[in-house]
């Protein structure tokens, strides 16, 4: 085989590596440009240089073409999702707590109830409450299921208003971290697969695809404000408080658990009343910090018992490291939903 023929064959092979629609549109043109360039370079005695340049350019061109293709598909899917969740023919969103105190109390309801239950069960436990209930996943599971699951399901049916988010977070967190640790992988994998399928379906058939009204309302609720997902994660705080105070006993508890519960409620209340996104996230972070670091005070004062709760002792470094990790993890989780909106790269073509 002569040299131009071999180069042509090689280039045709390279074209197969491009995305299908790209090579279908530009493949013939690219080939004729390559052959014209090779012909001219050969006539001018610089075929080797030309070929090296093409060789060096090929990986970059391939990566860019694939990346651009994927990005376009992704953006098409997102656009279609937004169109499918369009509020044009949907009733307006239910008001959030910012609009009224009644609504704010409703949205903080889960935190108020769990704070009351935590303090009641710790400082004045009813006679039938078994000691060590804080570590009993079955007991906690019943409480969480009774408290949060109906609220979450009603919320889902009503298009996921903001009051349903903490309940969803608490149910999912208990499922993930509580009685059946392996279930969260199953749930996460299903959720991810569902979202992926939805995006693929929307990208493939963006126009005729219409989602059911309830799903569109849920979609609209999710895209209204990314801090709503943070609020859902904040719903796990009652379980985080229990985990942070797990080395305490009901008969020697310091007042710091009450402080942690109060911090949780205060964070939720400020979140629901705040207008700006920054204030909302700040409230959740401060509420979490107060809840977790109150347990630090609990650990330092724990050995002295309820009577001597102000007598601070030195906690072990392992305990301090564990609490720090817990706090940082939850702060990172709370911030995560807002990061995509902060990290929009500048567009340049």
């Amino acid at each position: 085989m002569n040299l131009p023929g071999a180069l042509d064959r090689l280039f045709r092979l390279l074209l197969r590596a491009y995305p299908g629609d790209f090579s279908e549109t530009f493949g013939d043109e690219m080939r004729s440009v390559f052959l014209a360039g090779a012909g001219d370079a050969s006539a001018e005695g610089r075929l080797g240089r030309f070929f090296l340049r093409e060789l060096a350019d090929a990986p970059r061109g391939l990566v860019r073409a694939h990346w651009y293709g994927w990005r376009q598909k992704w953006q098409t899917g997102i656009r279609a999702l937004r169109a499918a969740a369009s509020p044009a023919d949907l009733p307006p969103l239910p008001p959030d707590g910012q609009a009224s105190w009644t609504q704010a109390i409703l949205e903080c309801g889960l935190f108020l109830i769990t704070a009351l239950l935590l303090t009641w069960g710790t400082y004045a436990p009813p006679a039938g409450l078994a000691p060590g209930w804080q570590r009993d996943p079955v007991f906690l599971g019943r409480i969480v299921t009774l408290l949060a699951l109906p609220v979450f399901l009603i919320g889902l049916a009503r298009g996921l208003p903001r009051w349903a988010y903490p309940a969803g977070g608490l149910v999912l967190a208990h499922t993930a971290l509580g009685a059946v640790p392996g279930v969260w992988v199953f749930l996460a994998a299903n959720l991810f697969a569902g979202l992926l399928l939805l995006l693929v379906a929307l990208a493939a058939h963006p126009d005729p695809f219409r989602l059911p009204t309830t799903v569109r309302r849920i979609g609209r609720s999710l895209v209204t404000d990314p801090t709503r997902l943070s609020f859902a994660l904040y719903g796990t705080l009652p379980l985080v408080i229990l985990a942070a105070f797990d080395n305490g006993f009901t008969d020697s508890r310091t007042p710091y658990l009450a402080l942690a519960a109060a911090s949780m409620v205060a964070g939720a209340l400020v979140y629901t009343r705040a207008g700006g996104r920054g204030v909302r996230i700040g409230a959740l972070l401060l509420g979490t910090a107060g809840a977790v670091w109150a347990s630090w005070l609990d650990v330092t004062a724990f050995s002295a018992g309820l009577a001597g709760w102000t007598a601070f002792l030195q906690p072990g470094p392992a305990e301090a490291a564990w609490l720090l990790r817990l706090w940082l993890t939850w702060c990172a989780l709370l911030l995560a939903p807002t990061l995509p909106s902060l990290a929009r790269p500048a567009r340049r073509i």
């Binding site: 530009f26 043109e29 093409e54 350019d57 061109g61 860019r64 073409a65 376009q72 073509i349």
Partner: protein
Amino acid sequence: MPNQPEIPLTETTYFILLSLSARPMHGYAIMKDVEALSGGRVAFGTGTLYGALKRLLDQGWIARSDDPDPDDTARDRKVYVLTRRGRQALETEITRLESLLSAAELRAAEEPR
């Protein structure tokens, strides 16, 4: 599509738009013209050229059509034409570059000899 052109342009985009501002061209002509315009400094590979052309087509800055004047060697050749939006983006970029250059000239004139 965005209403405002993304400025500054990449060098690849700038040279392709500048090349097409003279007349519609096919891919290989663009490649050669850009090389000539840049004094041999900018030489695209085929992959880079067509990746950039696809992005510009999607952006609506250039259009693609059949070659109105095909020669014997070319099969079904396409030419690329600068659109109004593309020309507007190029002019905005040239204005930006001119302002940068005049700032540099002003500073150079101020410096003591």
